[in-house]
C-alpha cells in the first residue's frame, strides 16, 4: 500500500471478466489521474457498468489488477470496506434507503462507520443538502421525492463520506427530461471542485462540456479514448463513428 503520489488515482491493468460464456471485459487497461473527469460511452451491453462496478468491487474481475488510491483491491487481504469509504457511487436507480428520511440517508454511513458523530454528521448532511439545493427536504421520506431530487440526494449521500473518487452509472437515464438538468448541474459543480469522476452516460452534451477524457467501450474493449474534441469531432475507430452517428441523430 505505497502512497506513491504519482497522481494516478485509479489504475486498471489487463482486467478480464466473463459471465459464463459471455466474455464481458477483455484485457482492459486504463489509468485515471487525480482530478480527472472521465466519461465512458458505448452501446448497451458493452460492459460499461461491469467495468465501473469492478472499481469498487461490486463485481470481482476474473484476473488483472485494480489499484484505487494506492490500494490494490484485487488483492484478497485488502479491506474492501475501507477502500469503498473512499469511492462514492451513484446508481441509475438512485437506491436511496427506503427506511430512512433524507437526512438519515446522508448521515447513515458517516455515523455507522465512525467517521463523524451524530451532531457533526447532521451538520455535514445539511451542508450537502444546500449544495444539492434540497435543504427543505431534510426530514421527508425518500419516497415522496421526484426522481431528480432522489438522484441529487444520492449524490449528497455519497459525498458525505468525503470520497476521493466518484463513480456514476447512468445517473440521469431514469429521469424525466426536465429533471436531468438539475442533476447534471450538481455533477458539473462537483467536477469543477476537482473531484475525480468516472461517469457512464448517454448525455453527449454533458460529456463534451465536462469531460477531460472520453472513453468508448464496445464489445468489452476500450476501442478509443481521447479528449471530447478528438472523440466527438475526429473519431478514428469505425465502430465509434457508427455509434456516434446513431446517438447524435437520435
Amino acid at each position: 500500500m505505497s502512497e506513491t503520489k504519482n497522481k494516478v488515482k485509479v489504475h486498471v491493468e489487463k482486467v478480464n471478466k466473463s459471465y459464463g460464456e459471455n466474455h464481458v471485459l477483455r484485457d482492459i487497461s486504463l489509468d485515471i489521474a487525480e482530478n480527472e473527469v472521465v466519461v465512458m460511452i458505448g452501446p448497451s451491453g458493452s460492459g460499461k457498468s461491469t467495468f465501473l462496478r469492478m472499481l469498487n468491487q461490486l463485481e470481482t474481475p476474473d484476473n488483472g489488477t485494480i489499484v484505487v488510491d494506492g490500494f490494490d483491491i484485487s488483492e484478497k487481504t485488502t479491506d474492501i470496506n475501507k477502500v469503498r469509504e473512499n469511492i462514492g457511487m451513484v446508481f441509475q436507480n438512485f437506491n436511496l434507503f427506503n427506511n430512512y428520511t433524507v437526512l438519515e440517508n446522508i448521515m447513515l454511513a458517516p455515523v455507522e462507520l465512525g467517521k463523524l458523530d451524530k451532531v457533526a454528521a447532521e451538520k455535514k448532511a445539511r451542508e450537502l443538502l444546500e449544495t444539492v439545493d434540497l435543504v427543505d427536504k431534510a426530514d421527508v421520506s425518500v419516497n415522496s421525492l421526484s426522481g431528480g431530487q432522489k438522484q441529487r440526494i444520492a449524490i449528497a449521500r455519497a459525498l458525505a463520506m468525503e470520497p476521493d473518487v466518484m463513480l456514476f452509472d447512468e445517473p440521469t437515464s431514469a429521469l424525466d427530461p426536465e429533471m436531468v438538468g438539475d442533476v447534471l448541474e450538481v455533477m458539473k459543480n462537483l467536477a469543477e471542485s476537482g473531484m475525480t469522476m468516472i461517469i457512464v452516460t448517454h448525455e453527449m452534451g454533458f460529456a463534451k462540456q465536462v469531460a477531460d477524457r472520453v472513453v468508448f467501450f464496445e464489445s468489452g474493449k476500450i476501442q478509443e479514448s481521447g479528449t471530447p474534441d478528438q472523440v466527438f469531432n475526429a473519431p478514428k475507430n469505425e465502430r465509434l463513428q457508427e455509434f456516434l452517428s446513431k446517438v447524435m441523430h437520435a
Binding site: L58, R84, E85, N95, F97, L108, A109, R157, M161
Partner: protein, 482 residues
C-alpha cells in the same frame, strides 16, 4: 424503547429457563415413577368435578402405591402418547384401560390382568326386551366409531334390527330412554358407569361381556421389573382383602352416585363455566404461556434462519434451506411425538411435556417464519444492499441497518398471521398431555358428556384470545409504520 424490548426478551428467556428447570424437578431421586394415562376414559381414568384424576385405574394404582411404598407422578395425555411414552422409556408405566393383546405383549410386560371388559348392551329401564332375539324390527342406537357399533353391525342381520347413529353419548342414551330407539351397544363398563350416574338404562349382560378381554398395567418390556412386581404384589393383596371389589363397586355398582357434579352444573353454559372456571383458567394460562414463548422464540429462530437463508455463504444458505425443508414438512403432531417420545430414548434424558411442546412449536413455527423471512429479505431490492456496500458498510451492518428493517416491514402481515397460527397450533400439543385449553376441554367433556357446550366455551375463549392478539399485532404494526 430498544432497551425495553431487550429487557422483555431477557425476561422471557429466563422465564423459559425457569419453566424448563422447574419442571425437571419432578424427576425426584428415589422410586418416584412416571405413570401415564388417558384421562378421558371414565370410569377408569378421568377428572372428577374438583379436577382431581380419579377412576377405577387411578384408585387401584393409588392404593397399591401407598401399600407398596412407592410414589409416582401421573402424566395424563392422549391414549397413543400414553402407551408410546412407556414403550419408548419416557415414562415408567401406563394404566389407561388398556386391553392386553398379543401385539402389545411384544412391547410391554403386563401386570396381573385387573379388569375384564368387553361389549355390553342396554335397554330402557322397565323395557320388555329380554334378549337379543327381541330386537327384531327394533331400532338400536350406536355411537359412531366405537367397538360397540362395530359389533352391533356384525350381528345386525342375525337379529334383524335397524340402527341409528349418534356422536355424543348423552343424546344417545336419551334416545333410548325416550323410546325412539330400543337398545344400545357399547363398552360394558362405560354403560355401567352411565347407569351408575343415574341414566335410566338397564344393562343386559353385566356378568358376561361380549368379546371379553382383560385390561392390564403395562411397563416397557424387560424394564421396570421392580415396579411390576410391586404392582402385582399390591394387586393380589387388594383383590384378597376386598378393596378391589369396593373400588369397582364404587364406580359401577347398582346404586347411583355422582362423580361428575350436579345436573344443574352441567346443563347450562354458565353452570359449566362456574363448575370449571379454575380448570379453564389454568388451561388458558398454559395456552397463553406456550403461545407467547413460542411466538418470541420462533420469531428469533425464524429470523436467524431467514438471515442465513439470504447469506452470501452457500453453506449457511444450505443449512437454512435444509432446516426449513425438514421442519415445514413434518406435521406438528409427528414432531411433538418425536421430541416427547422418540428423542428421550436417543439422548437418554427425559423431556418434560411443556419443554417438548415448546420446542416443537419453535421448530415448526420457526421454519414457517424463516421461509417468509427469507422471502421478505429477498424481496428487498438488491440495489439497497449495493448502495449500502458501496458506502463502505459491511455485509452484516448493511443487513442490520438497511435490509432487515425493510424486510421486516414487508413481513409484518405474515408475522401476525403466524402468531395466530401458533396460538391455534398449541391445541395440537394436547396430544402429549400438556394441560392447555383443548386438553382441559377434553377432560371436562369426558367427565360431563356436554360436548357441545364445553367446546363452544373453548371455541369462544380461543376467539377472544385471537381477537386480542390481532388487536395487539395491529397496534404494534401501526406503531412501527409511524
Amino acid at each position: 424503547m430498544k432497551k425495553t424490548v431487550k429487557l422483555l426478551i431477557v425476561g422471557l428467556l429466563s422465564l423459559l429457563v425457569f419453566v424448563i428447570t422447574s419442571s425437571d424437578v419432578d424427576a425426584a431421586p428415589t422410586p418416584n415413577y412416571i405413570i401415564t394415562t388417558d384421562a378421558t376414559y371414565p370410569p377408569f381414568d378421568f377428572q372428577d368435578k374438583n379436577n382431581q384424576y380419579t377412576g377405577i385405574d387411578q384408585e387401584i394404582l393409588k392404593t397399591i402405591a401407598k401399600r407398596q411404598g412407592f410414589t409416582y407422578t401421573l402424566k395424563p395425555m392422549s391414549f397413543n402418547a400414553a402407551t408410546q411414552s412407556v414403550s419408548s422409556g419416557q415414562a415408567d408405566g401406563v394404566i389407561a384401560g388398556m386391553s392386553i393383546t398379543e401385539e402389545r405383549k411384544a412391547v410391554f410386560d403386563f401386570g396381573t390382568p385387573y379388569y375384564r371388559s368387553g361389549i355390553g348392551w342396554a335397554v330402557k329401564k322397565g323395557s320388555n326386551i329380554k334378549s337379543l332375539d327381541d330386537l327384531k324390527g327394533q331400532t338400536v342406537a350406536l355411537k359412531t366409531g366405537t367397538s360397540g357399533a362395530d359389533y352391533a353391525l356384525s350381528v345386525q342381520k342375525k337379529y334383524g334390527f335397524k340402527v341409528t347413529y349418534f356422536n355424543d353419548s348423552d343424546t344417545l342414551y336419551n334416545d333410548v330412554i325416550n323410546g325412539n330407539s330400543q337398545a344400545t351397544f357399547g363398552d360394558l363398563p362405560v354403560i355401567q358407569y352411565a347407569v351408575k350416574n343415574g341414566t335410566q338404562l338397564k344393562v343386559m349382560n353385566s356378568k358376561s361381556p361380549i368379546q371379553a378381554g382383560w385390561y392390564g398395567f403395562g411397563v416397557q418390556k424387560g424394564k421396570n421389573t421392580k415396579l411390576l412386581t410391586a404392582f402385582n404384589r399390591g394387586f393380589a393383596e387388594i383383590k384378597k382383602d376386598g378393596t378391589y371389589d369396593k373400588i369397582v363397586a364404587k364406580y359401577l355398582g347398582a346404586s347411583a352416585t355422582k362423580f361428575t357434579g350436579s345436573k344443574q352444573d352441567n346443563s347450562s353454559v354458565l353452570g359449566i363455566l362456574k363448575a370449571n372456571n379454575g380448570a379453564f383458567l389454568k388451561g388458558l394460562w398454559q395456552t397463553m404461556l406456550l403461545t407467547i414463548l413460542a411466538i418470541i422464540l420462533a420469531s428469533i429462530w425464524g429470523i436467524l434462519l431467514g438471515v442465513m437463508g439470504v447469506s452470501q455463504n452457500a453453506l449457511f444458505r444450505g443449512i437454512s434451506t435444509t432446516i426449513i425443508y425438514i421442519f415445514r414438512g413434518l406435521p406438528l403432531m409427528v414432531l411433538a411425538f418425536f421430541i416427547y417420545i422418540g428423542l428421550p430414548g436417543v439422548i437418554g434424558m427425559k423431556i418434560p411435556a411443556f419443554t417438548a411442546g415448546l420446542l416443537t412449536l419453535v421448530l415448526n413455527e420457526g421454519a414457517y417464519t424463516a421461509a417468509f423471512v427469507r422471502g421478505g429479505f429477498a424481496a428487498v431490492d438488491s440495489g439497497q444492499m449495493e448502495a449500502s456496500r458501496s458506502l463502505g458498510l459491511s455485509y452484516a451492518k448493511s443487513m442490520r441497518k438497511v435490509i432487515v428493517p425493510q424486510g421486516l416491514k414487508i413481513m409484518i402481515p405474515s408475522f401476525i398471521n403466524q402468531f395466530i397460527i401458533t396460538l391455534k397450533d398449541t391445541s395440537i400439543l394436547s396430544a402429549i398431555g400438556i394441560l392447555e385449553l383443548t386438553q382441559t376441554g377434553s377432560l371436562i367433556v369426558s367427565r360431563n358428556s356436554q360436548g357441545f357446550r364445553v367446546w363452544a366455551i373453548v371455541a369462544v375463549i380461543y376467539l377472544i384470545v385471537i381477537t386480542l392478539l390481532t388487536w395487539l399485532s395491529n397496534w404494534v404494526e401501526k406503531r412501527t409504520r409511524a
